[in-house]
């Protein structure tokens, strides 16, 4: 009979194979990054363009421009675009972040040449037809109104506003009146400025061939990177330390709690240690917040803490949805856990567990070309090198309980944070 009481011997991940991008120099000077793997006959091609929501006062402008790229060009109708992409089993996704727009194509290798001309056409020649605009706008407006019924969305928007200010490009949420202020001309102008002449950065993963690279270069390489991005002021002053903001919602059975504040950028030397401290606090299923507030008290289905970083600001946040009747208790327990991080040294057993768990996550981050290309994109868009991951791994292996306490003392004071509670009333 096996010994069921003792865990079988296991190894700690001590190194990982960093699957890196190959940078290709094309005749047209297009930035193409590649991840080659044999036998993966579906190719993923990402086109990344600096056309995010921060570049216009009305965040809907960037959003709708991106969403309507495939709604018509000078030579193709919306229906033709959908047909040409989908007929060959390809899939096109259009996404928008604060700084970048992401146009992602999944296509069978054998049909890539069918989809590329369509992508080129929408990037250069999208023409935002009136009829399609009204349809997309109504659909987005309905989604917006649904989101006004969700405590998670209400709290998230308010949190950003309280961190950066209601008019700041990172704080500005979509408002009902924004829908009245956009029209096809504003979208066309936005497209003209940010898409038409911009040279996309391209990441390709799968069993591509040289022919595919040349094909991409010929379609996108001769776009001229002419326009200068507008100067945007990203300054902000956060003055809401220690405040609690209530957004009551009638008949809500749960509250969303978001607690946090603007903090350091990815390039700051504390960023990685703070990430590790946040992992212990609320970054994984075995975290302190999860163990206390879910697994011991049953106040929530899930609670998380984490750092995120835009180009010009980092954020720390803790987020949970809890029953109306236990919201206050949950907040109290969150405070308790933050204090514990600041006052007590993390025990060796817990620190080793987090070390082991996070070390293995480096294997996952580079497991296959699709994962590795995501890891690379994160570096590329933050102007970081692969040494970031090497450095991260090294810090992870060496960080001490004292350093974690010190970092927590610096960054985890509840007095630094604003608390947004959507759902229950004060």
């Amino acid at each position: 009979m096996p010994d069921r009481r003792t865990q079988p011997p296991f190894q700690v991940v001590s190194e990982f194979n960093m699957l890196k991008a190959d940078k290709r120099n094309t005749t047209n000077g297009l930035e193409i990054y590649t991840f080659y793997v044999e036998n993966q006959d579906i190719l993923k091609i990402e086109f990344i363009i600096e056309a995010g929501s921060v570049f216009d006062k009305n965040p809907l402008t960037a959003d709708m421009t991106n969403a309507m790229l495939n709604e018509g060009t000078h030579t193709r109708s919306s229906a033709q675009i959908a047909d040409e992409i989908e007929y060959f089993g390809a899939y096109l996704s259009l996404n928008l972040g604060k700084h970048f727009a992401y146009i992602t194509l999944f296509s069978l290798k054998k049909y890539l040449h069918k989809a590329l001309p369509v992508i080129e056409d929408i990037l250069r020649n999208a023409n935002f037809p009136e009829k399609e605009f009204e349809i997309v706008k109504m659909s987005q407006f309905q989604d917006f109104m649904v989101s006004r019924q969700r405590t998670r969305d209400l709290a998230g928007d308010a949190f950003n506003e309280h961190l950066f200010g209601t008019e700041h490009p990172y704080g500005r949420s979509v408002r009902e009146s924004d829908f009245d202020e956009i029209n096809t001309n504003t979208l066309q102008a936005y497209h003209h400025r940010f898409y038409k002449s911009s040279k996309p950065r391209v990441i390709i993963s799968g069993a591509f061939t040289e022919e595919h690279i040349n094909l991409i270069d010929s379609h996108f390489g001769d776009l001229i990177h002419s326009s200068h991005l507008p100067e945007i002021n990203f300054d902000f002053s956060f003055n809401e330390q220690g405040k609690t903001v209530y957004l009551p919602k009638k008949d809500s059975v749960q509250s969303t709690i978001i607690m946090g504040y603007p903090t350091i950028l990815k390039s700051h030397p504390d960023f990685i240690p703070l990430n590790i401290a946040s992992m212990i606090l609320g970054g994984y299923f075995g975290s302190r917040l999860m163990k206390n507030i879910r697994e011991d008290k049953g106040y929530t289905y899930g609670i998380y803490s984490g750092l995120s970083a835009y180009r010009h600001a980092g954020m720390f946040e803790i987020e949970a949805e809890t029953g109306i009747d236990v919201t206050e208790k949950a907040v109290k327990e969150i405070h308790k856990e933050l204090r514990k991080m600041q006052n007590d040294l993390v025990q060796t057993e817990e620190l080793e567990r987090v070390r082991n768990y996070m070390s293995a996550s480096f294997l996952r981050r580079f497991d296959g070309v699709l994962a590795a290309s995501d890891a690379f994109r994160a570096l590329l868009l933050s102007n970081l090198e692969y040494s970031y991951y090497e450095n991260y791994f090294k810090i992870l292996k060496n960080i001490s309980a004292e350093e974690i306490r010190e970092i927590s003392q610096r960054y985890f004071s509840p007095e630094l944070m604003v608390t947004v509670i959507a759902g229950k009333s004060e």
């Binding site: 009979m1 079988p8 579906i42 989908e86 069978l108 309905q142 029953g323 768990y357 759902g423």
Partner: protein, 415 residues
Amino acid sequence: MLQFDKFVLDNGLKVLVHSDTTTPMVTVNLLYDVGARDEHPERTGFAHLFEHLMFGGSINIPEFDTPLQNAGGTNNAFTNNDFTNYYISLPKENLETAFWLESDRMLSLAFTEKSLEVQRQVVIEEFKQRYLNQPYGDLWLLLRPLAYTVHPYSWATIGKDISHIEQATMQEVKDFFYAHYAPNNCIMVVAGNTDFDTVKTLAQKWFGSIESRKIKPRIYSKEPLQTQSRSLHVKRDVPTNAYHRAYHACSRTDIDFHATDLLSDILSLGESARLHQRLVKDQEIFTDIDAYITGSIEENLFVFSGKLADDVDFETAEAALLSEIDTICKTPPTDDEVQKVKNIWESKFVFNETNALNKAMSLAYFELIGDAKDYNTELSKYQNLKPIDIQNIAKKIFRPENSSTLYYEANQNEL
């Protein structure tokens, strides 16, 4: 082509192995043949509550997650109406930890009162978060009992009502475990950087001594043939009217399944599909319209779900949709439409195989409904279909008396 090997332990545990040495990880997936359909009608939501308890410690191991995290592993699980699926992913060197953990909780849980009390609360919060505190969150709590009158598919996996979760007792938890959790009611798939002999040795070592159990037979009524259309009209504090119409359709193992699936794709897969093009773009009746099958093992529902455009009433929306349904019943789809959805299926299959967990779950699922080998011929079953097959299925399913309609109306005030 997904390569795998299979063996069966004496206690009935089926084990499938798929080797892929390009990854440093290995995935261990255990599918138990128990889902919400196996619940007592007065204890709905129990299979899902039970899934939570599977993480509350087993007979020899007080905590499930901690040792797994030490070994660099992640895990999760889900329950649906048909089955419950657990998976672990960890570095290949630490595969044995997964066998140790999974075999101990198959042997027996710890059955602590604390775990039951806490997970009961967690599941109640999950119920609120996903079904009550969400606009349109109660859709399936309404549509299922409308379409199914006697079959256990009439309740959602989360359960009919929070009170069922509140009333669950420890004795019921134990009875459920011994009636459904057993090697002979489980399919295990190991996929990733490992090999057949390693898995066979580990399976024998950790699972070999667990005795097979008497599985509670499924005794419930088949859903009778629906002979009259049904409808339900509700008003909620949501911004937009939503329309749902469900027809009874065939089971997963029925010869008609693939044509039924393609029928839903012809109607609504992607933006080029006819419902989007005609009802959203041309006629501006809906802002969003989808056709899909529920994907259950026994008799499915073929569902249309749409959000109405502003200023369009239910009557107009329904007439427009019924006209599209009528069209597909009278005229087969074009060759191009059929070729397109076949191409999309080809992409889906290729994409599915880029991920070890997807591969493991696919093999387990196909083994459950028949034979894992069928995964490799599945794509051809779609590719062999002809336009006339799609039309024939449409005629078979889309009979008015076979339908259940939910009018989900937005309250005009309150917003």
